[in-house]
């Protein structure tokens, strides 16, 4: 491992899977996480699960936040989670944000999503969650 563990910042990939172009939330979160001292990589729009997982691996990210407002979360999220598992990267903390009906949340968590943030979630709650979910040895 490189450097003293406490010097490494938390690295987060903020990703927009699927075809919807609603990126207001993703950009606000990306900036809030960056302002909170994390290293943020925003993938941009219209990413496939394969592209997202590739970015997570390349960037050696600790967490990935998936922003979905298209209703396709039950198709896209399980694919990201299972591709991460295939790559032995299932220690990466996966969070989901967007218009996710309450009924779908238990299933997403069962699949391995750490937390789901629905509309109205304060950005500080998301920052706090990532800080406590990423294993110690990181700053920010």
């Amino acid at each position: 491992m490189s450097g003293p563990p406490s010097s490494r910042k938390i690295r987060v990939v903020v990703a927009k899977p699927g075809l919807d172009g609603h990126d207001r939330g993703a950009k606000i979160i990306a900036r809030a996480l960056r302002d909170a001292g994390m290293e943020v990589i925003y993938t941009g729009l219209h990413q496939t699960p394969e592209q997202i997982v590739e970015t997570v691996l390349q960037e050696d990210a600790d967490a990935v936040g998936l922003s979905i407002l298209s209703g396709a979360h039950m198709t896209l999220v399980p694919r990201v989670v299972s591709l991460l598992r295939d790559q032995q990267a299932d220690d990466v903390v996966v969070t989901v944000g967007g218009t996710i009906p309450a009924d779908d949340i238990p299933e997403l968590k069962r699949l391995g999503v750490a937390e789901v943030f629905t509309p109205g979630a304060p950005t500080q709650a998301i920052i706090d969650f990532i800080r406590q979910a990423v294993p110690p040895g990181h700053s920010a």
């Binding site: 699927g18 075809l19 919807d20 172009g21 609603h22 990126d23 207001r24 993703a26 950009k27 606000i28 990306a30 900036r31 809030a32 960056r34 925003y42 941009g44 729009l45 219209h46 496939t48 298209s70 209703g71 396709a72 039950m74 198709t75 896209l76 218009t99 009906p101 309450a102 009924d103 629905t118 509309p119 109205g120 304060p122 950005t123 500080q124």
Partner: protein, 551 residues
């Protein structure tokens, strides 16, 4: 005047009294951060109020585009709808027409907006989710089955592949025996705002602008009752823009389409009367009303003075409005009925020509029928019970409204100047200018909400634990399978040679910038080529687009 010193001294007396009064802790700003004074008076009116405010149906159209406004005819109540396959949406359309709706408005699903067929691997999980899936001419015919296309006005919210959807629509009508000259309605086609805000694209900006130009040109020759572009601020606002940004970027987009069409050799009066606009109605009541009034004034001035339009119809900014989806909350969703009613009232007092009211459950999922009915009833209550339609522009001359209208106008011109410095809107978009401005405004707003400086009822204050969520519309996953089968069936049933030939001709036309692409698209629609195949053919010449995001 003898009365003047008395009035001045009264104002001074009020100012002194106000200075000694207690003031609530509040930033006293509009939603967009424009400062608001404690009181507005005659002194805040424009120097020549008669000229700046004028009369409805007369330049500068601050008070409305028609002389009689809602005393002549109410706005069109046009609810946006679309989900699942064409069959489900066709049923929703008939439901809305049966409940007194007066025009149809089509929402397409994400794959259709991105030019992908339903059986494309990237469409998986997205088919029919946020709108209706339309892949083929057959889907378009099913969508409007039993609806006489020569009689109803139809709006289609699609941009990058707009020319393809228009081709499907024109051929579907042709097969009902209705010629393009009889079709009335609107197709959005506003590609500039896609790169700015909505982000559903198929091609790089320059060839996408050519396709828009081809469509405007073809429509000006063949579809006299059709609005080929609806220049849209709605999505710009939803992406987090302020009211002034929505106004400025939308109008600048509109002026850019006009400029392009004029450069192609069209006479401005041949197409400008059929350009229409689409704005957001957000929750800050007076700011929104001022925005619409300023928009009309700017458009009239620019078309008349900058582009030399002589036909008075070219000067008129006619617009559709939708209440702000972004203002709705997932928490305590019934409160959204109130928000939507206030926003709808602002649109009406701002003189809109048509209106969509959002359903209270839309922060959670696509709306249920019950929620859609309440939304439509909201418009009917405004129209028939409140009395606001009895007189034209009831807020005209109100000191605050006129001052805010002037302020909005000034803000828009400030942005125009910045965009011109960057080389115009296309170049400004390539430089990420509007995108960055919007991201900045969105972040600023969220920070204020997070800090509790702005209260959003039910979200950061007045919360209510143990909420009962309403029942939601669920899209049956089997619909995706059904749609995939439909598009595959069309491909196997059609004459493969005819389709291949039409797509080849389209590619050939795309390679020659001087050729209008509409005839080739119509032929491809007749030959049963799919949306994805037509987009693919154009992409072989035009290429694709990837954004460099800024946040």
């Amino acid at each position: 005047m003898a009365t003047e010193p008395r009035e001045a001294s009264e104002q001074e007396a009020w100012e002194r009294a106000y200075a000694q009064s207690r003031e609530r802790r509040s930033p006293f700003q509009t939603l967009s951060g424009e400062p608001v004074e404690a009181l507005y008076t005659e002194r805040d009116l424009p120097p020549d109020p008669g000229h700046a405010i004028g009369y409805p149906g007369q330049p500068p159209f601050t008070r409305g585009v028609y002389p009689s406004m809602y005393r002549g005819r109410l706005w069109t109540m046009r609810q946006f709808a679309g989900f699942g396959t064409a069959e489900e949406t066709n049923r929703r359309f008939r439901y809305l027409l049966d409940h007194g709706q007066t025009g149809l408005s089509t929402a397409f699903d994400m794959p259709s907006l991105m030019g992908l067929d339903s059986d494309h691997p990237r469409s998986l999980g997205e088919v029919g989710r946020e709108g209706v899936a339309v892949d083929t001419l057959e889907d378009m015919e099913t969508l409007f089955g039993g609806i006489p296309l020569g009689e109803v006005s139809v709006s289609m919210t699609i941009n990058a592949p707009a020319a393809i959807m228009l081709a499907f629509y024109v051929v579907a009508a042709e097969r009902q025996g209705v010629g393009p000259e009889r079709l009335s309605g609107t197709i959005q086609t506003d590609i500039l705002k896609e790169y700015i805000a909505q982000k559903e694209w198929c091609f790089p900006i320059d060839p996408a602008m050519r396709l828009v130009g081809d469509m405007i040109e073809w429509c000006s020759e063949h579809m006299p009752r059709w609005h080929p572009v609806s220049i849209s601020g709605y999505h710009i606002r939803e992406a987090g823009a302020t009211a002034a940004q929505e106004l400025a970027f939308t109008l600048k987009d509109g002026l850019t389409y006009v400029e392009q069409a004029v450069q192609r050799g069209l006479d401005v009066d041949d197409f400008a009367p059929r350009l229409s606009f689409f704005f957001n109605a957000h929750i800050d009541f007076f700011e929104e009303i001022a925005k619409y009034r300023a928009a009309r004034r700017i458009w009239a001035r620019e078309l008349r003075e900058t582009f030399g339009a002589r036909d008075p119809r070219s000067w008129l900014m006619r617009f559709h409005t939708q209440t702000a989806g972004v203002s709705l909350t997932a928490q305590q969703p019934l409160n959204n009925i109130v928000r939507t009613a206030i926003e709808a009232l602002a649109a009406v007092l701002g003189g809109t020509q048509s209106l969509h009211t959002n359903s209270f459950d839309e922060a959670l999922a696509l709306p249920t029928e019950e929620a859609v009915r309440v939304a439509l009833r909201t418009q009917q209550i405004i129209a028939h019970e409140t009395g606001v339609t009895n007189t034209i522009d009831p807020l005209g001359g109100a000191y605050f409204v006129e001052a805010l209208t002037d302020r909005m106008e000034g803000r828009a011109y400030d942005y125009f100047a910045k965009i011109d410095e960057l080389g115009g809107m296309v170049e400004a978009i390539k430089a990420n200018f509007p995108q960055r401005e919007i991201a900045e405004a969105a972040f600023e707003h969220q920070s204020q909400v997070d800090a509790g400086e702005r209260i959003v009822v039910g979200v950061n204050d007045y919360r209510h634990e143990d909420e009962q969520l309403p029942s939601l519309l669920h899209i049956d996953p089997a619909l995706e399978r059904k749609q995939v089968d439909r598009v595959r069936a069309v491909r196997s049933r059609r004459d493969p040679e005819a389709a291949e030939q039409a797509l080849g001709a389209l590619r050939e036309a795309a390679a020659h910038p001087g050729r209008n692409l509409m005839p080739g698209l119509l032929d491809a629609a007749r030959a049963q080529a799919t949306e994805g195949e037509m987009i693919g053919a154009l992409q072989t010449e035009f290429g694709t687009y990837t954004e460099t995001p800024v946040f």
